[in-house]
Subunit: 157 residues, 2 copies
DNA sequence: GGCCAACGTTGGTTCAACCAACGTAACAGA
DNA sequence: TCTGTTACGTTGGTTGAACCAACGTTGGCC
């Protein structure tokens, strides 16, 4: 098992303990811990990048790698590497776009769609576990506030 | 400048967009971006680990590296490396504990205290920038919810 | 026909967070 | 007192996510 050490135990230094950046890093750590647990339990040796690419691909239909990179905010060099892994596992296919031979047209296979569906369920379960400390109403509130912090758009006063 | 690319622009795939894990990773990305910006602007080539160690050290007074590692949740091997850098910059001192020669007693120098104070101000400013999208009341609410998510303690129903 | 931009690829880097193994030192039990 | 076990600091790795630079190929535009 790769359950994260969860070194929750002892209190952090006072200078650090209550800062948003610190709480955020701990929450993120917990989140990635749950995710990698989930990905591992799901088998298939996939990680976040794989899921994001499969999700984008399902939504867009066949597209170029560059476009996939833009819609997932994954660097195109990483897209290359991760797609190669997905192709090895027959979850996607890549063919040169006949209309523009610079482009690789990426499309999902039937197996890829199956894997995406499977991962979907796993990841949904993880959201529930992550947010379990909050009531349903608190979860909604939290997500709304978190979204604004993530977006970082400061409204004019 | 190392201002993060902030590739906020285009929307993530629908499967991903509204998940807590995704929002958390984006908020965390923004947070670390602001932090590294701040550390860079502060000069001195220090990063999060350095600050955490200095903060813990100031709070505890002279202690062993192992103890420092426990109170900051930093692996002891990383503590070793980062303390060596802090010592190079004369921000901390290390001496063998005469009462237990396995231990390195770490203490802060005057310069270290000064650096900590300086970084404190920088980091406080970053909290403000990070939470700027929220009103003061929302910030309090957000921090409370975030703390519970970070702690991950699921209360009995 | 030339020039520039886009694309995919290779091969790096960084930071935080880990783990394993080792020698030295202290300690606890027989 | 010896003996086994733990604690400590150190060295030297690995991982995942996010990056950047440079290159050859291809396409579009003037």
């Amino acid at each position: 098992m790769t359950t994260p050490p969860s070194h929750a135990g002892l209190p952090a230094p006072a200078r650090v303990r209550d800062r948003a950046t610190w709480l955020l890093s701990r929450a993120y750590l917990r989140s990635t811990g749950l995710l990698s647990e989930g990905f591992e339990a799901a088998g298939g040796d996939l990680r976040g990048y794989h899921y994001r690419l499969l999700a984008a691909l399902e939504e867009s239909g066949p597209v170029s790698q560059a476009s996939l990179g833009r819609s997932t905010s994954i660097d195109r060099s990483d897209v290359t590497a991760v797609l190669a892994e997905l192709e090895d596992r027959r979850l996607v296919e890549r063919t040169v776009d006949p209309d523009d031979r610079r482009r690789n047209l990426v499309s999902m296979t039937r197996a890829g769609m199956g894997e995406l569906t499977r991962l979907d369920r796993v990841i949904s379960g993880i959201q529930d576990r992550l947010l379990a400390p909050l009531s349903a109403a608190e979860q909604r509130r939290f997500l709304e506030l978190l979204r604004r912090v993530a977006d970082g758009v400061t409204p004019p006063p």
